[in-house]
Structures are given as C-alpha cells and as structure tokens.
C-alpha cells in the first residue's frame, strides 16, 4: 500500500482503469498535456495517447453529449467538468439524456459514463469555483452519485464507477485533493456503491455526512469526546444508492441525529436524509433532527470573512451536538 493524497489517487486509478480496459477514455477541458487544472489527469495523454485522452473544446454540453454518444457506441468515457460550477451548461445532457436513456429505451440502451466533478468550497474560489451541486442530481432518478472523502475510497469508488453500467457523477472535493493523505490499496480495489462507512463509532448521537464535511465531523466528534459526548460519524460515500441501513442502525442506537452538509441548506441532500428519518425511524428519535449546513445564499463569496462565515464548521457542529444531547 502506498500513501497518496486524493488527487494522486484519482490519477492513478484512471491510469489503472485505462490500462485494464481499452474502452476507457478521458475527455474534458485541459485534461491532456496540462493534465487537468488539478493535475488529476497528469501523465495520461503521454501514456495512452491523444485518442484516449481528449482535450475537448470549451463546451460542457458537448463534453457530456459526446461522452454519451461514445458510450452508446461501446466506449467507457470518463468526462471531466473542470469545476462543479460549470456543470450547468451540461444539465440537459446529464438529466434529459444520460439519466433517462436506459429508462426511455426500456432497458435497450445504457449509458456507462463517469462524470468527474471537482467541487466544494474553502479554496478561495468565490461564487463560481466553490459550489456544491450534488443536490440537483440527487433528485434526478437514473444517476448514481459518489463522494469519496479519503484516498482509498477515491480509488475504490472510482474503479467501481468506471465499471458501472450506468452514469455516475463522481464528486471530488477540491479542498481535500491535497490535504487528505492515506494508504491506498495496490492493484485491484473496488468498493461497492451504497455502503456507508462508520468513520467513528459513538452511542450518544449520529452525525451523517459526506465529502469534506466528514473531516469536520470527525474533528467535532474529537472535541465532543473531550466533553464525554460520543458522536458516531457516518460517511455516506455514495448518495445514490443511499445506504439507509447503516444510517438507521446508528440512529436506532443513538436516537439523535445531526445531518451535516456543506451545500445550501434548503433542499439539500441533508433534507432528504432528515425526511427519511422523520418518516421511517420516527419512533426511534428522542430529539429533533438537526441540520448543519450552509446558509441559503447563492454561493460562497471570495472575501475571506464571507467565505469563512459561509462554511459549516467544527464549532457549529459541536454547538448543535450540545443542544441535541441536552434536549
């Protein structure tokens, strides 16, 4: 096992999957000789050539549209949207086409593409280089969604995504890219979709989260432990399919839940998780389901005081947890 950061894990996994299956191609803006603006595709064009590592024109709808077409004709495209914030021009191709191809053809056609989407804030990226966009796709049946939070999961989930028969949105948190390092299994390593991971066990309350917020939750749990509050931290890892079982098992034990997400609060993925708990596990709850999320402002501002005020943080989670155990 080698120690890698997340961006290295993405890069190496892409390389391994391309070596393993010649149907895998990479397409996106600057993915070729530049190796992507985050270097997640560095070295691939040198290794696999310009036919399989395609510097696309600056046009997201066609990046996804071409990937869909290539998938329909037997390839396994991994498309990159340079920043999540620039996924909207491709919305029609993703929602109307990728997500609905199988359903609309009654199973006759499939759309095995992966859309890699660097996302998230805290990187001084301002309104248009910081967004969380997963909620929009979470609501669209027909799309799978993975959001790794560690280098090992990045490999396991990305390999699974590339081998999946259906479209997968693969969200890579930009702030974690180089900040989180960890051991990554060598060779074959896939992780099944729909299996959340308990990152830290605890009996007093459950924090359900994903992406960069996993690390915020872990820090909060650490702090809470010093106050003798045992918080369990669940990393969902994939949003679709959603591992309700792991969440339920935990909440039935703790009876208290915090749903933590970096995205705007209203209508975020956390709303669904809260709604599921309130509907299916109501009798196990001893306290309100608390959501800790970003405020409903259009996006993260650039100026540091505003950026910091936007992001959910450890203090916010700890405060919510204290209120919850005191309820």
């Amino acid at each position: 096992m080698a120690v890698k950061n997340i961006v290295e894990s993405v890069r190496d996994t892409l390389g391994e999957e391309m070596a393993r299956d010649e149907r895998v191609i990479v397409i996106g803006e600057d993915v070729g000789v530049k190796g992507g603006v985050f270097k997640a595709t560095a070295g691939l064009v040198e290794r696999f050539g310009e036919e399989r590592v395609i510097d696309a024109p600056l046009a997201e709808s066609s990046i996804i549209g071409v990937a869909i077409g290539a998938a329909l004709n037997g390839l396994r495209p991994v498309a990159e949207i340079q920043f999540a914030d620039f996924i909207y021009p491709a919305m029609d191709q993703i929602v109307s086409e990728a997500a609905r191809l199988r359903y609309r053809s009654n199973g006759a056609f499939g759309c095995p593409i992966v859309i890699r989407v660097p996302f998230g804030g805290g990187v001084h990226g301002a309104l248009y280089h910081s967004q969380c966009v997963e909620a929009l796709f979470f609501h669209v049946p027909g799309l799978k969604i993975a959001v790794p939070s560690t280098p090992a999961d990045t490999k396991g989930l990305l390999a699974t995504a590339i081998r999946d028969e259906d479209p997968v949105l693969f969200f890579e948190h930009k702030k974690l890219y180089r900040r989180v390092r960890g051991e990554v299994p060598d060779g074959e390593h896939t992780l099944p979709f729909g299996q959340a991971e308990v990152r830290r066990p605890g009996d007093d309350l459950t924090i359900i989260t994903y992406g960069a917020m996993v690390h915020v939750a872990l820090e909060a749990a650490e702090q809470l432990a010093r106050e003798s509050v045992a918080a369990e931290v669940i990393d969902l890892r994939t949003l679709v399919p959603l591992d309700k079982q792991t969440v339920a098992d935990s909440v039935m034990r703790t009876s208290r839940a915090i749903v933590l997400y970096e995205d705007n609060r209203t209508g975020g993925v956390g709303a669904e998780i809260a709604a599921i708990l309130a509907e299916e596990f109501f009798e196990h709850l001893d306290a309100p389901i608390v959501r800790v999320a970003a405020p409903d402002v259009p996006a993260i501002p650039y100026s540091t005081p505003l950026e910091e005020a936007f992001l959910p943080n450890v203090a916010g989670v700890v405060a919510a947890a204290r209120r919850l155990v005191a309820y």
Partner: protein, 346 residues
C-alpha cells in the same frame, strides 16, 4: 431532378442528370416503396389519432425524400442513425418493421423503441443501430459526434447520420456537436430537414441566413443545400458525404429543403400561422408522387408493379395496426424497472 441552392460558403456541384445514380431498378423501387409506406403509415396514424384511438402523432409527410434518400446511402446493420421524431422514412429504411412502428404508436409493451414509455415516433432500436432519441431537440447532435468518435477510435468503418429540423440548428447543442465533429474530422453526417417552420416559427425568425447550409462555414465543414423533395438529388449528395466520411475526410452538413404537409403534430393547428395555400402549393412538389412519376417515366416502375406496391403497402399497414392494437399494454408493475441496469456487471 435535383436543384441545389449554392450559398456563398458552400461547395459547388454541377447539377446532375436525372437518375444519374449508382442504384439499380430494384433498389430504386425499394426506395419508392419505403416512401410510399412511410406516407401510408403516417396517414393512418393521423387518422387513428383523429378517431381517438391514440393520444398523439407527428408526421413525416413531405419529408420522405429527404429521409429515405439519405438513409439509402447508408449501410444497414453497420452504419448508425440518430433520427428525430419525423424520421419514419429513415427508420423504416434501416429495418424497423411497420408492426414495430405501430407498437410504438399504440404504446404497447413490445414496442422495441421504448416499451410504450415514450411518445410515438421517439425512435430507438438497438438491433438496428438506431440510437434512442428523446424529445428535447438537438441533444442527439453531440451524441452523433460521440458515436462517430468511438467508431474512429476503434478504426471501424461505421458512418453515423444524425437528423434534426432547421429550428433545432438554433440550439447550442447543434453548434457544439458540429464543432466537435469538425475538429476531430469525424465520420458523421448532419442532416437537416429544413421545412421552414419550428412549430409556428418561420425560418426568418430562426436564422439570419438564407440556408442552414451556410452554418457549416463556422465549422470549416462542407454545407450542401439540396432540394429535399427530390429523393435522388438527396441520395447523390448523401452518397458523397458518406464516402467522404468513410474515407476519413470528416463530416458534412446537408440542408434538405422540404415541406411539412401537416400541422406540427396532432396537437397543433397550423391555420393560425400559415395560409392553407402554402401547403397546397407545396403539395405540388409531393416527394412521394414525384418519385413514383419519375420511376414510371423511366420505365423503372411498371403499372403492374405500381399496383402491386400499393396493394402490398395497404396490407402491411392494415396488418401492423391490427397486430399492434391487439398487443398487450405494459404492466403497471414495470413502472420502476430499468432505472438502472438490472444485471450490470460491476
């Protein structure tokens, strides 16, 4: 005979003589039969809709020469098509059976296009390499580039043909798809069925150019305008574009001038936005009749053959309707199937 408009930026061609094509009598008659069949099926669907036996229909009427003329230059079983909702003539030529068409029309379980999930005329047939299409116009254009890209990467001789109306050329996806295909010199033909209307919106409110062919200049791609009521003129232009594509010379945009004989769809009433005379005069250029006459004139279709053809078509249509209408509807329980692969390998 094919008359071709030749806008500034567009390739120049000499006007070819009638029947100056690499097709024998049997092939010409097959083209004719597919055109007649398209029309007959379409008229029947319209009738069935008016009788309240189906919610919706949308026509190929007036477009048959553009459709069958282009499809006839493709290789069945090898080349890939991405038709749009008017392309009954294309899918019939590529091998879809009238029964299958009617299964889609009546939204039956066995409809190979969508199992009754999509509206009629939303084509898709994996076995025939007809890629599943949707309603949002233009999305298939980048798909076609991607399909062709895959063929190119695998060094396969497949040619891809994608179809759309002139209104659709206003969408961003048209631009992005053609741009991508041109950059990579992909083996794909962009066929515009230019009927002068997008529902009610006339061409001059859709573009500031006289033709769609001129749009090709933006991509450094040949753009050919052709009389889309003349099936052989269309065939010749398509033939050349297919040869170009197959030999690695890249994409072509073909602008077929056609007339829409019907309202936009069974939900539309075109009398509010165009004078009936316009359609009347367009019908003077009925592509189906015109081609039948041409074949008769050139002794390629005898009276007996003509008669036989019409009888056959009538019987086929009748059979298809009866077969499909008696065919089972999807089960409600199937609603939740095929959201994801049911036995996808991991």
């Amino acid at each position: 005979m094919g008359s071709m408009t030749e806008p500034a930026a567009v390739k120049t061609r000499r006007t070819p003589r009638p029947l100056d094509v690499d097709l024998g009598g049997a092939e010409l008659r097959a083209i004719c039969e597919t055109m007649v069949l398209s029309r007959a099926l379409d008229e029947r669907m319209w009738l069935l809709n008016r009788q309240g036996r189906a919610h919706f229909t949308i026509s190929c009427q007036g477009h048959e020469a553009a459709q069958v003329g282009t499809a006839a230059a493709l290789r069945r079983g090898e080349d890939i098509t991405l038709p749009y909702y008017r392309d009954l003539g294309v899918v019939l030529w590529m091998g879809m059976t009238p029964r299958e068409v009617m299964l889609s029309f009546f939204a039956r379980a066995d409809d190979p296009n969508s199992g009754g999930r999509q509206m009629p005329n939303h084509w898709g047939h994996a076995g025939l390499r007809i890629i599943s299409g949707s309603s949002p116009v233009g999305t298939q254009i980048p798909h076609a580039a991607g399909v062709a890209l895959a063929a190119k990467i695998r060094h396969e001789p497949t040619v891809t043909a994608v179809y759309f109306g002139e209104g659709t050329t206003s969408e961003g996806d048209f631009h992005e798809g053609l741009n991508f295909a041109a950059i990579h010199r992909l083996p794909v033909i962009f066929v515009c069925e230019n009927n002068g209307y997008a529902i009610s919106v006339p061409r001059h409110k859709q573009m500031a150019t006289a033709t769609v062919a001129e749009r090709a200049a933006a991509y450094g791609m040949p753009g050919i305008a052709v009389d889309g009521t003349d099936v052989l003129a269309v065939y010749r232009v398509m033939r050349r574009a297919v040869d170009r594509a197959r030999s690695g010379q890249g994409p072509t945009l073909i602008d077929t001038r056609v007339h829409r004989f019907t309202p936009h769809s069974s939900d539309d009433d075109d009398r509010v936005y165009r004078p009936p005379e316009e359609v009347e005069s367009a019908r003077q250029q009925d592509p189906v009749e015109k081609f039948r006459r041409t074949l008769v004139q050139h002794d390629l279709l005898t009276t007996a053959q003509d008669h036989e053809l019409r009888e056959r078509v009538a019987a086929i249509v009748e059979d298809a309707v009866v077969f499909a209408e008696q065919s089972p509807l999807p089960a409600a329980a199937d609603l939740t199937r095929h959201v994801f692969a049911e036995s996808g390998r991991r």
